[in-house]
Amino acid sequence: MIDISKREEHWRRTKGLMIVTLTIWFIFSFVVHWFAHGLNSVTFFGWPLGFYMAAQGSEIVFVLTLFWFVKAQDKIDRDCGLAEED
């Protein structure tokens, strides 16, 4: 039988990770692009920054966030003894 307090801790930390992940997601999905016009006056390695963020920047952030998320969730599962056996 799995310890109830471990389950509660697991779900609390999982929710926390979800909120952090979705905050990053929200910023790079919506906030950054809302201000594209202003960002375009900044030049980033030759690109107008607003264009760059839509063409490449946000996408790179999404990929990195996801690999980080996978690692962080794995750690939560292991710490709480709820990870799957290999």
């Binding site: 799995i2 389950r7 697991h10 779900w11 999982t14 990770l17 979800m18 992940t21 979705l22 990053i24 997601w25 790079f28 999905s29 919506f30 692009h33 809302w34 201000f35 594209a36 016009h37 202003g38 960002l39 375009n40 030049t43 980033f44 390695f45 030759g46 690109w47 107008p48 607003g50 264009f51 760059y52 839509a54 063409a55 490449q56 946000s58 996408e59 790179i60 999404f62 990929v63 966030t65 996801l66 690999f67 998320f69 996978v70 969730q73 794995d74 599962d77 709820l82 990870a83 799957e84 056996e85």
Partner: protein, 611 residues
């Protein structure tokens, strides 16, 4: 026995697909040699498309199965990285492959909302959905909805939304396979559509999800090679840089200068071009500073992202991994493999635009004499098939920006020719487009047929049906839905892009909140889910009917046009689901315990491995 055999296959996957990739490259090389020996371009095009389809069909045949869990979830043994490739092929449609770079070419920054929207949705899939649905152990998305909320009505509604969203999408894919097959094999479009369908069914009929998985991995390898090789080659040949994706910033700035030089936005619109062709009229990099344009950008992003996380043909790919952990890893790999194509498309659009606009490059055509431009081989070839048109509106014999019309698809299809690459590259691109359209069509057809056979037939109509009969029904449905899709596609009702965006809007309007709240909110109950699905789906659909140019064509409310009707469906769905759930009794203890169970990665799945 069967298990040992299949686990040896799983262990050898890197070797098998490594050899496959090598074999494909050898084939490309062979075609290049044939081209040098004087074999005609048409023959090479036919060989490319025919050879790859035969390979996919062969994989489909080898993966045939009579086991329920192999048919529905590939036996739940697809490793994370390979499932990532299969998902990427499942995801990237004919539209992503052929039309995306062209969309960026014409739409500039505004169109990039699709690129952002079609990548970021995977964050939602990984953090909110996939691992929990994997732990649940369902075969289909309505399987989750039906079990979580109880009763046949929620399950039935889930099937309806799934079928509408996926069917809208699949007709566009069959249309694309038809277009490519027609061009490569030189047959009429109406025949090409049925030929494409035949190829699609050969991959999925006998082996269900197992066959689709292994063909999709093969199709991903072909499509990514076919997309990247021409772009790298073009970039290096034209001296744009070794890795084009990292160096096109200056080219973007140069385009902005050229747009000013050629008078973009000041030239009068020229009329008389054939349907589907357009001239450049929007600035490339500039983003408008009006709040309305920012709003339109983010609403399109939102609909595409939440739609990503609700499209059943994507979610069901994560039911095939060996574990919950592998499901999560697999989402990250999926996005990585999708990213490879999506971050290349803007680079391709930029360099193609530069090659056409820049008078200092040998390829530049704007500002040149029209007689010279019309003598170019690629201009003649694509003019003959109706993909581009030149209208000398001011009769000065010089090509202006507003006098050159083309179809967006040209950006991908004609890159090899504009940059003067050998024809073998064009054949490769045709094979890649075919792989992209076929793999998506396969996943969609299977999603619809599985929902109908598992949820409608087995769970609702005949729960006593034996395995053999269930799998026979599943295959008959696959055939019937494929035929219906090909029939609708042959009528050519919508443009490819309209239909693709609609699928996302349908999916997020009807399914997003019932799935997410089913996992994250224990209090969500049957009545709430029914209200959320019906309300969101009906509100979204009615609004689409009200606003779409093809129907009533009213002025969009708050800029929410037919591409964004999920912005109407989703809030209705959320509010109804929460309000109705709170007004009715909470779910029973058993259901709440089930929700607790799916939140824990370890332990058995909630539903048995064969159900």
């Amino acid at each position: 026995m069967a298990n040992n055999k299949s686990s040896a296959f799983i262990d050898n996957l890197p070797k098998i697909y490594g050899m496959y990739t090598g074999g494909f490259l050898v084939f490309v090389l062979l075609m290049a040699i044939l081209e040098q020996m004087g074999v005609s371009a048409d023959t090479i095009g036919i060989l490319f498309v025919a050879f790859t389809i035969v390979i996919y069909a062969g994989i489909g045949w080898l993966s045939r199965t009579m086991a329920v869990d192999a048919y529905y979830v590939a036996g739940r043994q697809v490793p994370a990285v390979f499932n990532g490739m299969a998902t990427a092929a499942d995801w990237m449609s004919g539209a992503s492959f052929v039309a995306m770079a062209g969309g960026i070419y014409f739409g500039g920054h505004g169109y990039l909302a699709f690129v952002v929207g079609w990548t970021g949705g995977y964050i939602l899939v990984a953090s909110l959905m996939a691992p929990y649905l994997r732990k649940f152990g369902c075969y289909t998305v309505p399987d989750f909805i039906g079990t979580r909320y109880g009763g046949n009505l929620p399950r039935f509604l889930g099937v309806i939304v799934l079928a509408v969203a996926s069917f809208t999408y699949v007709t566009a894919q069959i249309n694309a396979t038809g277009t490519i097959a027609a061009r490569a094999l030189q047959i009429p479009f109406e025949v090409g559509v049925w030929f494409g369908l035949l190829g699609i069914l050969l991959c999925s009929m006998l082996g269900g999800m197992r066959a689709v998985t292994w063909t999709q991995v093969a199709q991903y390898i072909v499509l990514i090679i076919a997309y990247l090789v021409p772009v790298f080659w073009m970039s290096n040949k034209q001296g744009f840089g070794l890795i084009p994706q990292f160096v096109y910033g200056d080219a973007v700035q140069r385009i902005t200068e050229l747009e000013a030089m050629w008078g973009l936005g000041t030239l009068p619109a020229v009329s008389g071009a054939a349907g589907g062709l357009s001239a450049l009229s929007k600035p490339f990099a500039a983003a408008s500073d009006s709040a309305m344009d920012s709003w339109k950008f983010v609403t399109l992003v939102a609909c595409m992202m939440l739609g990503t996380a609700s499209l059943p043909h994507i979610l069901m790919r994560y039911f095939t991994t060996p574990s919950v952990r592998a499901a999560r890893q697999s989402v990250a790999w999926s996005l990585m493999f999708i990213f490879l194509l999506y971050f290349t498309a803007p680079a391709l659009a930029t360099f193609t635009k530069l090659q056409i606009l820049d008078p200092e490059l040998a390829t530049g055509i704007i500002g040149k004499s029209i007689a010279d431009v019309q003598a170019l081989e690629w201009i003649q070839k694509w003019h003959n098939v109706g993909f581009l048109q030149i209208i000398d509106a001011n009769a000065d014999g010089i090509l202006q920006l507003n006098e050159f019309f083309m179809r967006g698809d040209i950006v991908v299809l004609a890159t090899p020719e504009i940059a003067g690459l050998p024809y073998v590259i064009s054949g490769l691109v045709a094979a890649g487009g075919m792989a992209a359209a076929m793999s998506t069509a396969d996943g969609l057809l299977l999603a619809i047929a599985n929902a109908l056979s598992h949820d409608l037939y087995y769970k609702i109509i005949d729960p006593q049906a034996e395995t053999k009969k269930r799998l026979l029904v599943a295959r008959i449905l696959l055939l019937a839905i494929g035929a219906a899709g090909a029939f609708v596609a042959s009528l050519k009702l919508t443009s490819i892009l309209g239909a693709v965006a609609w699928a996302f809007d349908f999916a997020c309007s009807g399914l997003f909140f019932p799935i997410v709240l089913g996992i994250w909110w224990k209090r969500a109950n049957r009545q709430g889910a029914i209200a959320g699905m019906v309300g969101g789906f009906v509100a979204g659909s009615l609004y689409l009917y009200w606003v779409a140019p093809a129907f009533l064509n009213n002025t969009p409310w708050l800029g929410i046009d037919h591409l964004r009707f999920g912005m109407i469906g989703m809030p209705v769905s959320l509010v109804l689901m929460v309000v109705v759930s709170l007004m009715t009794p909470e779910p029973d203890a058993e259901t709440q315990a089930m929700v607790d169970e799916i939140r824990v990665p370890s332990g058995d799945t909630v539903l048995g491995s064969s159900h």
